[in-house]
């Protein structure tokens, strides 16, 4: 990206660089201190509280059919939770769709328990049916912690979703002209003191995708990937992305595929 400077300002730039060096060291110590802070809170991730509740919900009969989610197929076969989240999103034959964890869980709730997915889609985050979803997500992703991210684009629908996601990543809109790429397509960038992973590269994508869902310190809430993406779009000043909509799954596919080979560190603990 070119940043044009008029000639008259070029001389100022040299002076600016000179004054910058002293402040850079102050900034470095500030980011080091933030790293220390994160280390201090790393032990004792409140996600554990959600995970425990989620395990209970997973095994509790619910919905009109009064059935548990224990036979839910997250891609590795009915009832296999361990390692499943590390390979999502993926194509599912029964729905003929590429699904992320949350849209897949909605399918399980609909098919196994007879629950209406619209209720889940319309519910606000952190409340009602979404609260249950969030706990279940915490439980499921914890059982992939430490696994390698392994997402396939072998199926044509998976490849298509990936391509759509890549394009959506660069899609600008809203009154601030933002796209995901405005903040997440360059190395070494920060908003305020928060490092921004470069999601267009494997390392950065793993830093982003690998640590969400996470407990968010600033809100004191456990956030699923859908909520994380929702808040990205909110900050981008976009309209509201529908829960489980294709753009959210496409972006997840793009991030996950780019992150392949990285480690699942979920549930994370974030600012």
């Amino acid at each position: 990206m070119q940043r044009k400077l008029t000639l008259g300002l070029a001389s100022g730039l040299v002076a600016a660089l000179l004054t910058m060096t002293s402040s850079v060291s102050a900034q470095k110590s500030a980011t080091d201190d933030i790293a220390k802070y994160r280390e201090m809170i790393a032990d004792g991730n409140p996600s554990e509280l959600y995970e425990a509740a989620g395990e209970e919900l997973w095994k509790k009969p619910a919905g009109p059919k009064n059935v548990t989610l224990e036979q839910c197929n997250l891609g590795l076969g009915p009832g296999v939770v361990k390692g499943a989240a590390a390979q999502l999103p993926r194509y599912f034959k029964d729905t003929n769709k590429v699904q992320d964890l949350e849209s897949r869980l909605m399918t399980c709730m609909q098919v196994l328990q007879g629950r209406d997915p619209e209720e889940m889609i319309d519910a606000p985050f952190q409340k009602g049916p979404k609260k249950d979803m969030e706990a279940i997500v915490a439980y499921v992703v914890t059982l992939s912690k430490g696994d390698k991210i392994k997402v396939s684009t072998a199926h044509p629908k998976e490849k298509e979703m990936y391509d759509l996601g890549k394009r959506a990543f660069f899609f600008q809109g809203g009154p601030m002209d933002f796209s995901c790429a405005s903040c997440h397509a360059e190395n070494g960038k920060r908003i305020r003191l928060q490092d921004l992973p470069n999601i267009t590269e494997q390392k950065g994508a793993a830093l982003g995708w690998g640590y969400w869902p996470a407990y968010r310190v600033s809100s004191g809430q456990f956030w699923t990937m859908q909520q994380r993406l929702n808040d990205c779009f909110r900050q981008q000043r976009f309209p509201f992305p529908i829960y489980g909509s294709d753009v959210t799954i496409a972006l997840s596919m793009y991030m996950a595929k780019t992150a392949n080979g990285g480690t699942v560190e979920t549930p994370g603990l974030k600012r």
Partner: protein, 214 residues
Amino acid sequence: MNMKITHLKQLLAATGFIFATGLVQTPALAQQKNDPKFNKMIQESFRADGIAALNRIDQDATQKFCSDPKFADSKQGQAMREKIQKMNMDSIKQPSDGKYIGDWKNGERIAQSGRGATWTDTAETPIGGGCYNCHQIDYKEISYGNIGPSLTGYGKIRGYSPEVVTYTWNRINNSKAYNACSNMPRFAHFKLLNEKQMQDVMALLLDPESPVNK
């Protein structure tokens, strides 16, 4: 079977490498193309919420062009880039009262705030400049981003000449006038900041009394 796939991949990788040397722009040009599937996905994936209406995903020419950064940065994209910069430059209005420099204290408040214009805001929520999100400004504020260049000592370094003042005014109004795909929002174009607020931000950068220039 597996073997075959690997072979195929290697083959594809090798041919891709050959292509890449001669045809760097191919994938970029492909993205610039209209894709009904993509358009449908975008149209169907969002809903209006509060002040965040659905027309926010209707792209203008600048947004459309910059959504394909590979093309935008390419040689083929240059003519369009210049056209877009000119269009944005032409939309800039100089201050109606001829005043460029307002109150730096208020400018600092605007620079600090990253609020406004989201679906959790109302039309009455004051929109911040969000300047510290991306720029270092007053050196005393340690929590600043680096997506944009440091603005510490802005006026002290660049001077307070009419050229610097006009350039800065234009940049705050519409950064795309200088760089078609600058990451900086077009504050005047989308009415994110009004004239007075922009004068105040100007003061933060260009009032000799502002802490930025101390």
